[in-house]
Each structure stands twice: as C-alpha cells, then as structure tokens.
Point group: C2
Chain length 333, copies 2
C-alpha cells in the first residue's frame, strides 16, 4: 500500500500531518511518501523528534494557499505540494493521495490531473457522517454548486459503491434528500431525480428522505446536489458543535456539576466518539481514476491518520475500478 | 386581542389545543375563538374537565386532513375548521389565526383567503430557531420550493421586520445562507441575490453565512429559498434530536450515571429549554394581510399556548402593517 500525503495542506501542516503519517505507518505498515519541501519536512521532524525513517519524501517547492482560486492549481500552483502529489498519483507513483488543503483546488486537481472515470459526469465530494446508529455517506457535499438529474443519479451510484465496498453495507438504502417523502415533493430537480432513481437498476432506492430523519439513520446513502449537501453537512457540524459547547458549559458550572461529570465520563467519551468526524477519515472524491481523499482542513494527527486509513481502504476495495465497471455497465445498456 | 384557534389541527387536536387556549386565556387574558365542531369541542372539554367559559366557538363541520392536497382547502375543504377560521380572520372576526394543521394548506389558505400584501411576491414561512445565544429567524422554510432573486430579497425584508418588531432586535444582521462567505460562492441564484441584497436599502446585510456558523449565532435573519431553508431547519431538528437521545441514554446507563444526572439536572433543563422550539411558538406566515401562525404539527398545550402568544405579539407589533409600509416604500422608489 503506497500512499501519497500532502505534507503542506491544512491548518496544522506540516507537524500534525507528519505525526499522522508516522502513526499510520506504525499502525498499518503503509509505505508513505510525504510530498512537500524536503528541507522543511526534515527540519520539522528533527525539531519535534519525529522519526520519518522508512518514509520517502517527494520534493515540491510550494504550498497551495487557501486564498488562491482553485483553478490556479493547474498553472501558478503547479509546483505546490498538492499538484506535485496529484501528478505523482496519476503517474502511478502511489496508490492514493490524501490532502487537508483547499477543497476546491483538490477537486480541480483530481478532475484534471488524476482525471475522471469515463461516464462520470462530475466527480463528487462524499462525506461519511455519523447518525444515532451507523454512519452514512452524503454525496455531493459541494464539489458542484449546480445540480442536474444525470449528476444526481451518478452521485447515487458513487455513494452506493462506496458504502458497499468500503463500509461493507450489503444493500445500501439510497435516499434523495428532499423536503417531504412523497414523490411530488420538492423542486423540479428533485421530482425528476426521484423518477430517474426509481427506474435505476442496481441500487436500492428508498425514495425521498427528510433532513430531519437523516441523523436518525434514515438512509445509508443520501443523494443531494452539492449546494444542498453542503448546507446539510455544515448544519450538522454546526448544531453538533453548538450542543457540545452547551453540554461542556453545563458540566463546568460548579463543583457539583464537575463531580457529576466523573460519573458519566466514559459515556461522554462514547458520545464524542460517535459524533467525531475524525474517526471516519476525510471526504472521498468519487469518480476519478484513483482514490483521492480530502482530509478536514483542521485535521490533527489522528484525523489525518484516519484519512490515510480510509485511502487505503479505498485502494483495497478498488473503488475506482468498481465505479469504472458500473459506468461501463450503464454505457452498455 | 381576539385570537382565532383551529381546534382541529395537528396530531394532538382537539385536547391539547383546547388546553393551550385555556392556558393562554388565563395567562394573558386573550379573547379566544375556537374554530371547529361545536359538539366535539364541548364533549372533549367536558370529558377532560376543561373550563371553556369565556371562549367563543365558531362552528365548522369538517377537519382538513394532512393527506389532502393543500389546494383542496379552497374547494372540497372549504368547511373545515382551517378554512372557516381563515375566512373569519379575513372578515375581521379576529386579529390573528393559529393552526397546527397542514402547513401546505395553511399557506394556500393564508395566500388566497387572507391574501397577500401588495408587493409581496410570495408569502414565506419563517421559523424562529435557537442558537448558542439568542434566536434568529430563518425565511423561507418551505412555503416555496423554487426560489428567485426578488423572492429572496423579499424574504430578507420580511425577516428583518419580524426581528425588529416582534423580537425587538434593533438592527438585525441579515445573512444569506450559502456554502461559503465570499460573494462569488454558491450557484447563480446565490451570487445574484448577494448582489441584490448588498444594494438593498433599509436592511443590514452582512453577506453570506455558512450553515456551520448559523447555530453559533452568525445572523439574526437567515435568508434562504424554501428548499434550502427546509433542509436547514430539519437538519437542525434532526441533529438536536439525535444528540438529545444520546445524552439521555448516557445518563440512564447505570446507578452512577443516574446519580450524576441529579447534579446537572437544572443545567439539563436549561439545555433543553434553549433548544426547545416550543418556547418560540410556531412559524409565522409572513407577507399576508393578517398574522397567521403555523404551530408545530405535534404541538402540545404549551407549544400551542406559545404560538398564541406569538400571534398576539405579531398583532401588537402590527407586523402586517409594517410589511405594507416597507412594500409601499419600495414601490415608491
């Protein structure tokens, strides 16, 4: 398993990235190539006493800034660690690429450097999210601001393959995020997509799912245009953060409440674990030739380690090949 | 203050509605008219030992079912408690109308029986929602499945007036729900609405707000097309419900955790109160000639009482008149 890691993407790069890579190498024995400025990587490791032996470094001069236009990755940013890493992936110098850098740029790079799988209208950005019970995948979460029926149908297929192959769900329930459960609900895009998904072979379409029921586990794959998916994902994060903050304040109020905390300490740890996006790794970019994972911008070592693990699972499950087969099957019909 | 209450709307009608009306009459001295089948209302009150003296009853034969098409309210459903109540409001036999019945039907009825205010493109369904700090209003939350720039601009104005007049926020921060803060973010509708809101007089437009920041209090008025607003509202509800369930299970685990609960009991009550939609009443239908409030379908007596209080506040603040003035001002320009 040869993984390429963008050492200079995200808020906590390079230190947390290097730590995450070291931990993943130790835990799973991955062959990791760090992409970025060799001097800086070595200096950071030395300063922090990190052991990078056994890891390769693929030198890249620059860092792609969050402020730049995503498309700049292909020209002005072509020497950045992200662009160099993506080209290395395309050339077969690694099996998957993980970056905590700019989402937009990573999408542009995945699409134009790693390239789409034939038949995929638009690569999508999935997000594996927690529910009361087991996780689900939301596709798309913002790769595409505008949506169309063929795009949403493609998202359904991409999410279905991910859940089957990577998370081992045998027959994933595919639902369309909508404002009501009846077929007639929502705007024209939703009504037409509902019809198209109903007729699609090879997926288990369970109809519309209301946003209210999603956190309670209504579907294994939630299909949405990128705008809607992004709103859903970020509302999820925001409400969870707001509530976690309230609970924390509640326990910190006085000596009695602090004492009470001790009694539910392990329960609170479970609670946090359930809601921790870090355990699921990052957001897979689905529909490109090789696995590309977007790790959360604020990834710490643990989150980045999880993203590497997720990348390895996509490689093991051969997700791009499964997507290729599904697209060929569609084209043949 | 003369309030009309749909005695037969919602999952817990008529009992919880009658209880809520009795409580509101006692607490605030409202003059309440119950709309619905006289016999059934009296029988229910008698059976439960409820005192309805001082309340009027406006007889209506039928109940508008949740399963019917909303537009049926105007024809087949014209004798339902909802339609009779809305006509009574239009005729001036009350100052505001509250129903926990079908949202779609109430919107149809408000639009065609109570009628739009001149200049309002489409009435909107607002929702007053909690944040870590103080509440905000989200407009629209599903009255309109498709959106346009003039509609969204109108929603901004409606939300602004509600926050100023009913919740006493002096200079409400108006934000556009979007997938990023920059002006260029989102689909065409968002980009064009951003420009239009930037140029709009009389509101304090603070730009795009990301869904993640909304629960943390990023804006006092959040503008969204009905589809997006509905997704946002329901994700909010779903995540809060999922987390509340997890916390409850955590405290119920064993004797020690149950003991711990006693230490944070008042804190948990505060926590629940913050997140309780019931305290804010229902969803105001904004842009029609008189205040119409949609109470939550699963309203209990307390929730319905809050919705009645909210209706009274809309009457006191003369919300429709303020909207009328704002629209005239716009038309004059």
């Amino acid at each position: 398993m040869r993984l390429l890691a963008d050492a200079f993407g995200g808020d906590n790069a390079p230190l947390e990235i290097l730590k995450g890579c070291a931990a993943a190498q130790k835990a799973y024995g991955y062959e990791i190539t760090l992409v970025g400025d060799t001097q800086k990587i070595k200096a950071c490791a030395e300063q922090e006493g990190l052991d990078l032996s056994g890891m390769k470094i693929l030198h890249a001069d620059g860092v792609f800034s969050m402020e730049e236009q995503p498309t700049a990755l292909l020209k002005a940013g072509r020497d950045s660690s992200m662009a160099v890493g993506l080209r290395a992936l395309a050339e077969g110098r690694g099996d998957a690429f993980v970056s905590a850098g700019s989402t937009g740029a990573l999408l542009v790079g995945a699409t134009f450097l790693v390239k789409r799988i034939r038949g995929v209208k638009r690569p999508a950005l999935g997000a594996v999210m927690p529910t009361a019970d087991k996780p689900f995948i939301l596709v798309d979460t913002g790769a595409n601001a505008e949506g169309s029926v063929p795009m949403l149908c493609c998202f359904a297929k991409l999410g279905d393959i991910y859940m089957r192959r990577v998370l081992g769900v045998e027959s994933p329930r595919v639902g369309l995020a909508n404002i009501g459960t009846e077929a007639s609900k929502g705007d024209t895009l939703r009504q037409e997509t509902y019809r198209a998904l109903s007729e699609m072979e090879g997926i288990r379409f369970i109809g519309n799912v209301e946003a209210r029921d999603i956190p309670l586990g209504a579907a294994d794959v939630v299909v949405a245009d990128g705008f809607t998916g992004n709103i859903l994902l970020k509302t999820y994060e925001g409400v969870a953060k707001m509530m976690a903050g309230k609970i924390k304040a509640m326990f910190k109020k006085n000596p009695l409440t602090m004492l009470s905390y001790l009694g539910v300490k392990s329960g609170m740890a479970d609670f946090r674990r359930t809601l921790d996006y870090k355990q699921y790794g990052g957001a897979p970019i689905l529909g490109v030739q090789k696995p590309v994972i977007k790790a959360h911008g604020s990834s710490d070592a643990y989150a980045f380690q999880s993203a590497l693990r997720q990348a390895a699972m996509c490689v093991e499950a051969d997700v791009p090949e499964k997507i290729r087969e599904a697209m060929q099957h569609d084209a043949a019909q």
